[in-house]
């Protein structure tokens, strides 16, 4: 049996029939990790109690317990807390930190009997689009180890793509689940803002962050999403699954054509058009739409996100937890701890956030950005009246080479299609739509569907249709 051929659904069938135990299943994944992790740098830590967790799951099954995730080996991004285990957000400032409590998502997965394989690599504090900003080195793309896995949830995406986990959780602040999903050829969901509790997620941009699943199939991603979502008293921004009224599907899909005119790999556009054609054949109506403020989205994002991140990261002061360095004064203690504990991109974003929030610049940047964000949100809401989804490619290019984007701004431009969903709080799903050939390697590319608030189920339906197409096309 090959770990890359299994999905959560098929593995659950095997467990259900007694063809395999969770212990055997987990060992299969552990062995795959042992074979590839050294080269691909996917996991920062592989837990040493996987067998014990799997044995517990087998015992629960033997007692008659059933759930589609019972005994299923999963991977969690290193910014999601599991009580008693290390959590570093791939930063030196949290080296050695042990989580004092479970994130709500970790607790939910534990309760249902999932097996945690380990914590996956990421850009430090989720700041990046390639995992190159990890303090522990970049994760390599299983499709081509010369290339990035995407980021910031690159480790989670590569784990699923490389058969090193059946599913994974990541976090998405501006595309950090969807972009690596696209680069690695897996499914990734950024849920509606508030749909999944953020309690126990190491915060970056609190008005943007959402935890989301990465999986082999849309069905698996749906299962993970349904397991982790819901109202949580520990996160006051979380919402009940019934918070937004469900809308009947219109089978109409909108394409913001003006966003697709420049800077996009022509082969990606070909796959995109082909997918649209397929959807039309399946009875969907594809129409052109306008989102006048969308070209500004990336600029808004790179004001709002660093502002929130610089505030959130103020808590790392060397007094509460994590790294603590001493200087000649209290000020020096802080400055040394933070200067040496944070990596260059994190320092850059803290500085940028401090700038846009400082007196004299607040009005010109942060205030304008929050106003424009509201306009963008209204444009999305109006455009989505009568539509099931707004669609674009997930990324303008396929996975780039490690070291290719040395200038921070060029890295930021990777997020051009993904940030609007975070700014508007919309759910957004990336589904594989084929691959492009580069340097003799097949590189996967993703199709992105962004829906109305609470519209995940509609996205899953369309995603499953696209999945049928991609599987027959290959």
């Amino acid at each position: 049996m090959n770990s890359t051929d299994l999905t959560i659904a098929t593995a659950n069938d095997l467990l259900e029939r007694g063809d395999i135990s969770s212990v055997e299943l987990s060992r299969l994944y552990k062995d795959t990790i042992s074979a590839h992790n050294k080269d691909l740098n996917v996991f920062l830590e592989v837990f040493n109690d996987i067998d014990i967790q799997a044995k517990n799951a087998d015992a629960r099954r033997a007692r008659g317990e059933r759930s589609p995730l019972l005994g299923i080996p999963l991977a969690l991004k290193d910014n999601i807390l599991i009580e008693g285990r290390h959590a570093t957000a791939a930063s030196k400032i949290l080296q050695g930190y042990i989580a004092s409590y479970d994130a709500t998502v970790s607790k939910k997965l534990k309760d249902i009997g999932a097996v945690f394989l380990g914590r996956t690599n990421m850009d430090e504090f989720a700041m990046g689009s390639s995992t190159e900003y990890s303090a522990y080195g970049p994760t390599k793309n299983p499709s081509d180890p010369m290339r990035v896995a995407g980021g910031s949830s690159g480790g989670s995406a590569a784990a699923v793509a490389g058969g090193m986990a059946l599913g994974a959780l990541g976090s998405d602040t501006g595309g950090s689940v969807r972009e690596p999903a696209s680069f690695c050829g897996v499914v990734g969901l950024k849920p509606t803002y508030g749909a999944v509790s953020r309690s126990g997620l190491i915060a970056m941009g609190s008005s943007l962050d959402q935890i989301g699943p990465l999986a082999k199939t849309v069905g698996d991603a749906e299962l993970l999403f349904n397991t982790i979502s819901g109202l949580d008293p520990l996160d006051s921004t979380s919402i009940a699954t019934t918070f937004y009224p469900q809308r009947p599907s219109t089978k109409k899909i909108g394409v913001p054509r003006l966003l697709l005119t420049e800077g996009i790999d022509p082969e990606i556009l070909e796959h995109f058009e082909e997918t649209l054609k397929y959807l039309t054949q399946q009875g969907y109506i594809v129409i052109d739409i306008e989102l006048p403020s969308a070209p500004l989205a990336l600029a808004l994002y790179y004001i709002i996100m660093p502002a929130e991140a610089s505030s959130n990261l103020a808590r790392f002061d060397g007094v509460r937890y994590g790294l603590s360095l001493k200087g000649d004064s209290l000020f020096e203690d802080y400055a040394r701890t933070r200067g040496e504990g944070f990596g260059p991109e994190v320092r850059r974003r803290i500085m940028l956030g401090t700038y846009v929030l400082s007196a004299g610049y607040y009005d010109a940047y942060y205030d304008k950005a929050t106003q424009a964000r509201q306009v963008l949100t209204q444009e999305f809401s109006s455009a989505l009246e009568g539509l099931d989804a707004i669609v674009t490619p997930t990324t303008p290019t396929a996975a780039f080479r490690i070291g290719e984007k040395s200038d921070p701004l060029s890295m930021y431009l990777t997020d051009i299609f993904t940030v609007p969903a975070n700014l508007t709080g919309s759910p957004s799903l990336s589904v594989p739509m084929g691959s492009v050939m580069r340097d003799g390697r097949k590189l996967p590319v993703g199709f992105q569907l962004t829906g109305h608030h609470g519209g995940e189920s509609t996205l899953f339906v369309i995603g499953k249709d696209i999945e049928k197409h991609s599987s027959t096309a290959q």
């Binding site: 600029a299 937890y321 320092r347 401090t354 306009v375 209204q378 200038d407």
Partner: protein, 102 residues
């Protein structure tokens, strides 16, 4: 608006952000932050036509003002204290910042 930021401004930001940075990084940040500000500055230019909306997108969340025994941190006192980089008994040990007048 000019988005070129000076060396002095970078140093002030670093002080506000409590970050010790090297001389070389000051120059790099001067360049990087200027480039990024130039890009994000299109917001200031374009949104002058946008009227501030008075419909807030945020919701107020209320809860009962009661103690919940399933709060995450009940019984976690020692676990939290163990995370402290410096500790004396049940207290976080911090630098003395108030000194006697000479």
């Amino acid at each position: 608006m000019s988005s070129m930021i000076s060396k002095e401004e970078v140093l002030v930001l670093a002080e506000l952000a409590r970050l010790k940075i090297s001389d070389q990084e000051v120059e790099e940040l001067q360049r990087d932050i200027s480039n990024i500000l130039q890009y994000v500055g299109q917001v200031s230019a374009v949104t002058t036509q946008i009227q501030p909306l008075d419909i807030p997108q945020l919701r107020t969340i209320m809860r009962e003002d009661t103690f919940s025994s399933d709060s995450l941190l009940v019984g976690k006192r020692e676990v939290l204290l163990q995370a402290l980089p410096a500790r004396e008994g049940d207290y976080a040990l911090v630098r003395k910042i108030i000194h006697k007048d000479e």
